[in-house]
Amino acid sequence: MNRPSVPEAAEVLAEMTGGGCVVNEGADSSADAAYRICSGLTVYPRNEEEVANVLKWANENGYRVAPQGGGTKDALGQAVTDPDLIISMQKINGIVQHSAGDLIVTAYAGTTIAQLQQTLARAGQVLPIDPGHEEQTTLGGLVAANTSGLKRGMYGSIRDYLIATRVVYPDGRRLRTGAKVVKNVAGYDMNKLFVGSMGTLGILTEVTVKVRPLPQSTGCALLQADNLEHIQKLQAALLDTQLEPCVFELTDRLPDEFDAGKAYVVVTFEDVLPSVRYQLEQLRQIASTCGVQVLDSSDGDEGKEMAEKVLGAIRKRWPTPDHVVPASTVVALKLSSLLADVPALYDKVRLAAEECGLEATFNGGLSSGISRAIVTVHNEERVGNEHHDEALKQWIMKTQSLLEECGGHAVVEFAPKRLKSSIAVWGKDRPDMVLMRGIKNKIDPQGTLNPGRFVGGI
């Protein structure tokens, strides 16, 4: 096959998209380039048909494609080689239909979460997923990367809300999955295929999700313990009650005004005001029997404000390429484990970092089992960026074995490309890889979409 040159491709793709093709010249040397998907070409299709045309062209001409939303997850995945083409979904944004009475909303994949939430809020509704960086994170990206936040323990993740999509396959087929109703078992649940699939199977163009009414009231409590045993006790005690914590997060730091440098637990409740008040009171009682101190708590408007401040500060720590400070290296791990393993991981993962001469920050979901550990190192000018790489690698591998030991997983969610070439970003292969490869080969036999970025070389 005679593969078109980049200028030839640019011309064809520009024509397909009304001039929406940008040639990226020269190597990007900015601070965040190490965390970005880099490609010679970026195409901005304006609608699904253009996505299909561009993708089909790429598939037929041996151009490897990376779909992109807001770019917050550019650093997620095994980077083998740079793609030939980025298909940006940014121009395909907006709400298609918000059917408030049915508690469902359909939006184009490039719609940001912030934009979506604003529309929903006007009708007193919300998609109760808080990925952070909501001004940039797109709905399509949220699905493809399966991003979740601190409210996961109560509300679940995007797979629990996704009911229908429109998706473009590498050969240009435009398909629908699911149906725009809250319950549906017609055929396989094809929606699930795209949750967390990292753009390796198709490009989502439209997403329909269930939504919920906004909670009437929020309560927030900040707790502190001298040692982890007390936190374990608190976790076991609280989870064995009928209380319904929305956020139940263990974290090693709080915004300065609350911070005193120990292990903290943030608890929020979302419900009607009497219930929130009752639950805060119960929490205080449980905490005192577990030797955990309540630093502060509030409900009503103050509760909401406190929750937003504290949770916002935790979410801000989760890195994106836009937030990397020059002359620093950032590595973030997403850990999934059993709930009861979270407190011990808090210690072990931070200790592993210490042993490597690094300092890790940690937040862990005591009711979700999803934790994040982040290391930021500042590179002194003399030694260069790579100076800490060996230590970072050691920490990643240690943490991955720690998680494996307790039946969990540690995925490298954020790291510079130079590091990722020598680590297993997704951890060890599992026996069900055979089935996953089969699915990939069936849908994308040419390996056009994000080749090598996903598990097991998919």
Partner: protein, 481 residues
């Protein structure tokens, strides 16, 4: 597909007897009759044999043999499926999972339990209730259906409005693949890779056989409040449903029955004493933290009053609440008291279209001269129109099936789906074309072929046979607004 070759079958039966013991292999005609259908009784087919493995390893060995010798097979739980997914239309060997009926492990701290596929849904809740826990998905057949079957069908229930369906509660699976290999899927949340857990749940036994299931268990809500509202007009009841949701209340359950259905349940084993002249009854339940819950049910009652309710009451105690639910959950069976046969449909619609769709169903009922009773999960728009007929009257079965298909078309026309929780099975294979294009169906059978390359595991189910020379229906093109 032809029936299984006799010699091949005899060799398998011998293999199965050696592996499982004689008593766990059925192959004589009189033993097989009971397995000719599940709870969808319009089609029947005898299996070649029924085998009862005791564990994952035996299941895997059976499947490996069947795969190697190209004998079709299908998994079966309690046989309560309503769409015919467990009916052996091509003489399949039935692998019954009813011997694998144990609760293997409960881990309260991590809020999870591991069960074998033949474990009965309601038994799980009963086993953990003493510690204040329960298993949320509650199909009406929960006293007899198995959790393995629930996974196969992605079963729902009355309380999935707030708590979700089976797929939202399955954390991990042990799968015997169609080739007889054993793989573990999922385990902790967000296991790296494609969401096979999500694909397998609701795959109706066409992608392999699940032999162990890890499910999420929940803490029993602190308080439950239930209201019962009687309406003189179905439309008023439907509007009340929409208004309850619009108030920002997420009820744990929101159920509705119409006049014909009420006639059935009142003749059944659990009559509540509904007046015979009302047009609709609504059961609304809220649960959660006690504080503030009474205000919520008060709001529900208030909404009903705004919609010309004849009578609305709150359950005085658990006994009264249980009586209302027993009446509702046995509604399908109770139809036997007013009709010799019935066909149940399972369409889903956006709940705001409820009045419009109910009107259309009434017209279909008139056109086909068949009574249709409506029992449904109104909160999530999942309708269960029960088409009443008499199979002894020539042509009436066919008319009932046609009326059912029309009901599904109406559901799809308003943006809904052909099945919310009963599955496609045999019953709705052709109706899949109403919802999906040929291309969209092919995308799904592509996935089946990855898991089930020889097509031996529950063949000829769920998807219509590929059409020849039909025009490919294109999905509506997208326009940027």
């Amino acid at each position: 597909m032809d029936k299984v070759d006799k010699n091949k079958l005899n060799a398998f039966i011998q293999f199965a007897k050696d592996l499982l013991g004689d008593m766990y292999v059925l192959h004589r005609y009189e033993d097989l009759v009971a397995y000719e259908c599940d709870a969808y009784v319009i089609h029947k087919g005898a299996p070649s044999a029924v085998v009862f493995p005791a564990d994952t390893e035996q299941t895997a060995q059976l499947v490996r043999y069947l795969h190697e010798h190209e004998i079709p097979f299908l998994p079966r739980g309690a046989g309560t499926g309503l769409s015919g997914g467990a009916i052996p239309l091509h003489g399949e060997v039935i692998i019954s999972l009813t011997r694998m009926n144990k609760l293997l492990h409960v881990d309260y701290l991590n809020r999870r339990a591991v069960v074998q596929p033949g474990y009965i849904n309601l038994k799980l809740t009963h086993s953990i209730a003493a510690k204040g826990y329960y298993y949320a998905p509650d199909p009406s057949s929960q006293a007899s259906c198995t959790i393995g079957g629930n996974v196969g069908e992605n079963a729902g229930g009355a309380h999935c409005l707030k708590y979700g369906v089976t797929t939202n509660h399955v954390l991990g699976l042990k799968l015997v693949t169609c080739e007889g290999d054993v793989v573990e899927i999922g385990g902790v949340p967000d296991t790296p890779g494609y969401d096979l857990l999500g694909l397998l749940t609701g795959s109706e036994g066409t992608l392999g056989i699940v032999t162990e299931i890890t499910v999420r268990i929940l803490k029993t809500p602190q308080a439950v409040k239930t209201a019962l509202a009687l309406f003189d007009d179905v439309e008023d009841a439907s509007r009340a449903v929409s208004d309850i949701i619009a108030r920002g209340i997420v009820p744990a359950a929101l159920e509705m029955m119409d006049k014909t259905a009420i006639e059935g349940v009142e003749n059944g084993n659990y009559p509540v004493g509904y007046p015979r002249d009302i047009e609709a009854v609504l059961i609304v339940e809220v649960d959660g933290i006690e504080a503030g819950l009474q205000e919520q049910i008060d709001q529900v009652i208030e909404v009903c009053r705004q919609h010309r309710v004849r009578e609305v009451v709150q359950a005085k105690n658990d006994a009264e609440r249980a009586a209302w639910w027993a009446n509702r959950k046995t509604a399908f069976g109770a139809m036997g008291t007013i009709s010799p046969d019935y066909l149940v449909q399972d369409g889903v619609i956006p709940r705001t279209k409820l009045p419009e769709v109910l009107l259309k169903i009434r017209k279909i009922s008139e056109r086909y001269r068949l009574r249709i009773a409506n029992v449904f999960h109104a909160g999530d728009g999942n309708l269960h129109p029960l088409i009443l007929f008499d199979a002894r009257v020539p042509g009436e079965t066919e008319r009932a099936v046609k009326a059912g298909s029309e009901v599904l078309k109406v559901c799809v026309e308003v943006g809904g789906s052909i099945t919310g929780e009963h599955g496609v099975g045999i019953e709705k294979m052709e109706d899949m074309r109403v919802l999906f294009t040929e291309e969209e169906i092919a995308a799904q059978t592509d996935i089946r072929d990855v898991f089930n390359p020889r097509g031996l595991c529950n063949p000829g189910k769920m998807f219509p046979q590929p059409a020849r020379c039909v025009e490919v229906k294109k999905p509506a093109s997208m326009e940027i607004s």
